[in-house]
């Protein structure tokens, strides 16, 4: 059924359809609409879940770690400072191999206080062992949330479904909301083989000395690597159920492109328009949309970019003292290839600054006319340029 819903509520609908059993959350803009709608579902009985109104994001994640360890399907949502506060427990969730799903609405970190979109919050969690899926629109947010449960419960890793603040979380779009009966067939009830059970007492997450710890980490990495294949097959199955699929990356006109934009999140939509326009003007341009960031889809990135001459990676995030994070990862993916494109790392749109079609065109022409990137990160759309060194 098609309904016009807010991006946040598309996630709430998906959580309801997945019959999540324990939800625990703490308010932070711009994530709040997701859990407010879920509270409504719990109170009007359309979702039979226990909603824990905890006193912090840290406790929100801790409570889900408890609930998931006891064997139920769980959900939370957060943003920015809330995610940063959760950091320690993100490691606990993945290390304990718990299939927790979290919606994370990308918001800039303070200071200065800024509630607008910026991916540094989620990307700073890249080493926590969470699968990360970046969404472009409300439909994808809904579909990714449903896929996330199946993926998490297949590989036993937690999944973060990531949405841009406001551009996606607070925008209304027509969204096809699947039937409950179809989702029930796609996503069976969660029944883990191990859980806290007084009939089969066992200890979880205990002291793990050097003789076992490394193998546990390697197992986690194996699960991460298997998540790429698992996602692709879950995505295929999803298409057979619901008629939509997204892949781990999406390549638009990449076959014969000289220059390829690499994007994630809502900038991808703006970029699609720019690519179509430039194509009409005869430019050999393509777009690679990164949907999956962890596990990093090395093979697919290589498959689609190696023939191009230059990549223009748009990073709405920054790693201080280094460069944009997608650019770093793309460079790392390509570095051992004898013939590889130049990687231009553009930093744009931090703290919610608009990334307009004009800016993307400027990036295109700058990439085309530069023989080489003049530095590791090229900051675009600044109001005052950096002072001369």
């Amino acid at each position: 059924m098609k309904k016009v819903v807010e991006g946040s509520h598309a996630v709430s609908e998906a959580v309801r359809l997945c019959r999540v059993q324990v939800i625990s959350a703490y308010p932070i803009t711009p994530q709040t609409h997701i859990v407010e709608r879920l509270s409504e579902f719990c109170s009007n009985g359309s979702l039979k879940a226990k909603f824990l109104r905890v006193e912090s994001e840290h406790s929100a994640m801790a409570a889900l770690i408890g609930a998931a360890s006891a064997g139920v399907r769980t959900f939370t949502a957060t943003s920015s400072q809330g995610l940063a506060l959760m950091h320690e427990l993100l490691h606990w969730a993945s290390g304990a191999r718990l299939p927790i799903v979290m919606a994370e609405v990308n918001r800039a970190l303070a200071p200065g206080w800024n509630i607008w979109t910026d991916q540094t919050d989620s990307l700073a969690q890249r080493d926590t062992g969470w699968i990360q899926i970046y969404c472009e629109d409300a439909q994808e947010a809904l579909d990714s949330t449903i896929q996330a449960y199946k993926l998490a419960e297949t590989v036993f890793l937690p999944v973060m479904v990531i949405l841009d603040a406001f551009f996606l979380s607070h925008t209304y779009e027509p969204v096809d909301i699947p039937d409950q009966s179809d989702v029930d067939r796609f996503l069976p009830p969660f029944r883990p083989s191990f859980r806290l059970d007084t009939r089969a007492p066992a200890a979880f997450n205990q002291l793990s000395p050097p003789n076992v710890y490394m193998e546990m980490r390697r197992d986690l990495q194996d699960a991460m690597e298997s998540a790429l294949h698992a996602l692709l097959s879950i995505d295929d199955e999803y298409r057979s159920f619901f008629g939509r699929s997204y892949g781990a990356v999406e390549a638009v006109h990449c076959d014969d492109a000289d220059i390829i934009f690499v994007t994630s999140g809502t900038i991808s939509s703006t970029c699609r328009l720019v690519v179509e326009k430039l194509r009409r003007d005869g430019e050999k341009i393509g777009l690679l949309k990164m949907r999956l960031f962890r596990p990093f889809p090395y093979s697919l990135v290589k498959q689609w970019t190696l023939k191009a001459r230059k990549l223009a990676v748009i990073d709405r995030n920054f790693s201080f003292g280094a460069s944009g994070i997608f650019a770093q990862e793309i460079r790392a993916a390509l570095c051992n290839e004898p013939k590889r494109p130049l990687v231009f790392g553009y930093v744009a749109g931090l703290g919610g600054r608009d990334v307009t079609p004009e800016l993307l065109e400027e990036i295109y022409w700058k990439t085309k006319t530069s023989a080489h990137p003049e530095s590791e990160s090229l900051w675009m759309g600044l109001q005052h340029p950096a002072p001369a060194a």
């Binding site: 324990v22 006193e55 427990l89 606990w92 007084t198 007492p201 200890a203 205990q206």
Partner: protein
């Protein structure tokens, strides 16, 4: 006296707690009183080690080890999941040290009991961060040496009154207990088990290692703490109804301090000051229990005749 201690053990021998560890004794009695339908949540503390490394476990009940500051929140989640699965029988217990309770875990604990989450939170109190090597916590008493309050920097602040902090949340049940009074301890665990909502047990658990105390005195020192009113045994129901379970014999606190290396720097004047604080706290507690300190009889503040310890 007939014993009501059941034979069944839920704690295995061979754990790696130090000899005389009060926290190990406390757990043993707790589980005897709770039985097998128990899920234990253990945030970082000495018990993270005592409970055994992967793939072993010292306990015959399910154990969820968790981050230092999460005892209140993780137990909330476990309870929610059990409820959803229709399991109302299993008791969820958080077992945390004083650091995990008084300090870093206080927010999650306060949040959980404000929501009146249905679980028992047990703080075994050894009055410092022992797992990391004897650093001060807000439970460390006035006068104590620790590695972060060394030399003349010994702690000159009072111990946080955690039971009062919990009582202020008006939880259904809060009580103190001691490893030196196992029957009282188990009676309280039993009572807590039969109540719904948030229940808090503050167990005095001596730590020979951190207190610089011969291990064979672990139980004796705990008994002296009760007999001197340093650690009174009492219960508070619904935040208002106080019951004092043990009336003191009138022993002086200096006897208690003398036996432990962590207080050996204290002067006579310091000990007098501490005696004054202990008396003050005791009188406050008597008033809360509706008993008047000045009154005659066994209820009243004991006379300070130097009664010899027989503990």
């Amino acid at each position: 006296m007939e014993s009501n201690v059941q034979d069944r053990e839920y704690m295995c021998s061979g754990h790696v707690g130090c000899p005389g560890c009060g926290a190990a004794i406390a757990m043993r009695f707790l589980l005897k009183a709770l039985g097998e339908k128990t899920v234990m949540v253990i945030p970082a503390c000495c018990w993270s080690i005592i409970a055994g490394p992967y793939p072993q476990s010292t306990l015959r009940v399910p154990v969820l080890h968790t981050a230092f500051e999460t005892g209140g929140a993780v137990a909330s989640g476990v309870r929610a999941a059990l409820d959803l699965q229709g399991d109302r029988e299993t008791t969820v217990v958080t077992w945390a040290g004083d650091g995990g309770t008084f300090d870093i875990g206080f927010q999650a604990l306060s949040g959980a009991v404000e929501r009146n989450e249905d679980f028992i939170y047990v703080c075994y109190d050894n009055e410092a961060y022992m797992n990391t090597g004897v650093q001060r916590s807000s439970s460390t008493p006035y006068g104590a040496w620790t590695t972060t309050t060394p030399g003349q920097e010994w702690k000159k602040l009072r111990k946080k009154n955690i039971v009062e902090a919990l009582v202020a949340h008006r939880i259904p049940y809060a009580a103190t207990a001691s490893i030196a009074f196992p029957e009282d301890l188990m009676r309280k665990v039993h009572k807590a088990k039969g109540i719904r909502g948030s229940r808090f047990l503050h167990i005095y658990a001596s730590c020979p290692t951190g207190w610089r105390l011969p291990s064979e005195l672990a139980v004796k020192i705990a008994r002296m703490a009760v007999q001197t009113n340093i650690f009174p045994l009492y219960e508070v129901e619904n935040g208002v109804r106080y019951t004092i379970n043990y009336m003191p014999k009138g022993y002086l606190v200096r006897e208690y301090f003398k036996l432990q290396g962590r207080f050996k720097h204290l002067t006579d004047a310091d000990l007098e000051e501490i005696q004054r604080m202990v008396d003050e706290d005791w009188e406050l507690l008597l008033r809360k229990a509706g008993l008047s300190p000045g009154a005659a009889g066994p209820i009243a503040t004991p006379s300070r005749a130097s009664v010899p310890f027989r503990g």
